[in-house]
Symmetry: none
Subunit: 250 residues, 2 copies
DNA sequence: TCGAATTTGTGCGTATGTATC
DNA sequence: GGATACATACGCACAAATTCG
């Protein structure tokens, strides 16, 4: 019966969650079965089931039919540094950022011309249907896929120049700022809009995740004198990485 | 009984979902009630309930007790600006950022002294068990909860000063940088680490979500001369907001 | 190899509390 | 107040997967 404050299934879920986060139920161990939960907490089958479902929705545990409900492993997310700003070397709080900030690993890409969709056109401040160069990237770090990226550049900017294809020529793979500089486009600003959502099936396939995993999505746009010259969607598995920004104050 | 392929509740949920996305059940309309679903699809009460729960977990509908289950509007995620950097006024690409960057709405908070956990101690570069001032915030924008925040400040920094309690005194609610300036602590750097995960049940209760919804989590730390003076966890519902960073290049 | 026990996942019927209309 | 509808809760049943003797 409802006697106290919150629903019984949340109380049970909360207690189990506490045991998981404080380590008394470490990864790979089995939760008490539904029957055991029923006994231990003095609740019904439905409440025990609902409590497990809460923890499953939170990604803390996974149910294996016929076997049990197991505590998931939660790797410490690594950092991906996103800021051009660098602190004075030797400043103690930033050791790790320096350590893992520049290890970029390997990547693959392929480019194709395309027409700007409505969404891309809006981000690049061009008209839908205008020609753009669309490039897809897969970034790997120590063999593990860590990041997907799709970028769009208006052909009005790079068309008929040596840097039209981001990964070809002497400046291949050099980054947007350097490539644009080569054609006298001075990139001076970048915006990154960070969001998150459940990963799509194809994304999780590429990233090595399982359905239901969360991804962080960054919509990045480079500007030159207030005009967008490149925009990209960056997709990162949220269980393995965090995105670090380092900003000066004022 | 299960005769075909997938569970009954998924079949019902799938049919209702189709009607929602193709527009035959537009936003703000009411779903068939549990009883009606039971009749129309020839299923039990439990199946009808479970089907509604699936749609609620996907954020497509919201249940209002005593009234009905309503199709949600799917808002374009709004921006929350996180950068101190401001572009020269009038620069066209940044109109919206200027427009909604500073509308902070209302908030509530309460503070209590506590001992630093291992995780907090690491972030503040102090010892676990050291005294900290812990403050919880709930931010609202037009009545809707948009953000939860929990901050920790070492009492070694603010103890026995007028700004020990973030929300009291003449500088209450003024922000970390201003408050610290009042006690001659010059905040010069901030790091923000953005991650994402399924929201916890309590968080989603406060944010008006449903178990399984994704939240963006920002771990923010302010530094003064390389020393951490405040750290906070900011929790934002990912379906309604994005976090915008605006960075100078170079 | 077989079978029994366990466990999850799904499904059913019902009852009660409570919010809304 | 009454009717409606959602939210929580109880107890039960069965299929499928797994485990283990």
């Amino acid at each position: 019966m409802t006697f106290g404050e919150q629903p019984a299934y949340l109380r049970v879920a909360g207690d189990l969650r506490k045991k998981i986060v404080d380590g008394s139920l470490p990864p790979h161990t089995r939760l008490p079965s539904q029957a055991r939960i029923r006994e231990e907490y003095g609740v019904s089958d439905t409440v025990a089931l609902e409590a497990r479902k809460v923890l499953m929705a939170e990604g803390l545990v996974e149910g294996r039919s016929g076997s049990g409900t197991y505590v998931r492993e939660r790797p410490v997310p690594r950092r991906i540094a996103r800021s051009g700003f660098r602190p004075p070397s030797g400043a103690t709080p930033f050791r790790q950022e320096q350590a893992d900030g520049e290890a970029r690993g390997t990547w693959e890409s392929n480019s194709a011309q395309a027409e700007a969709s409505v969404a891309v056109a809006e981000r690049l401040d061009i008209r839908p249907g205008d020609r753009v160069m669309c490039t897809r990237y897969v970034f790997r770090d120590a063999g593990e896929t860590m990041m997907l990226s799709t970028s769009w550049e208006p052909l009005a900017v790079t068309g008929r120049t040596p840097v039209m294809l981001p990964e070809e020529g002497p400046l291949g793979g050099m980054g947007v700022v350097e490539r644009m500089a080569a054609i006298d486009v001075v990139v001076d600003n970048v915006t990154e809009e960070v969001g998150a959502r459940p990963g799509l099936a194809e994304e999780l396939l590429a990233l090595g995740g399982v359905p239901g995993h969360v991804v962080v999505v960054i919509q990045r746009t480079y500007y030159a004198s207030g005009r967008p010259v490149e925009t990209a969607d960056v997709v990162i598995p949220a269980d393995r990485y965090r995105v670090a920004y380092h900003l000066p104050v004022k």
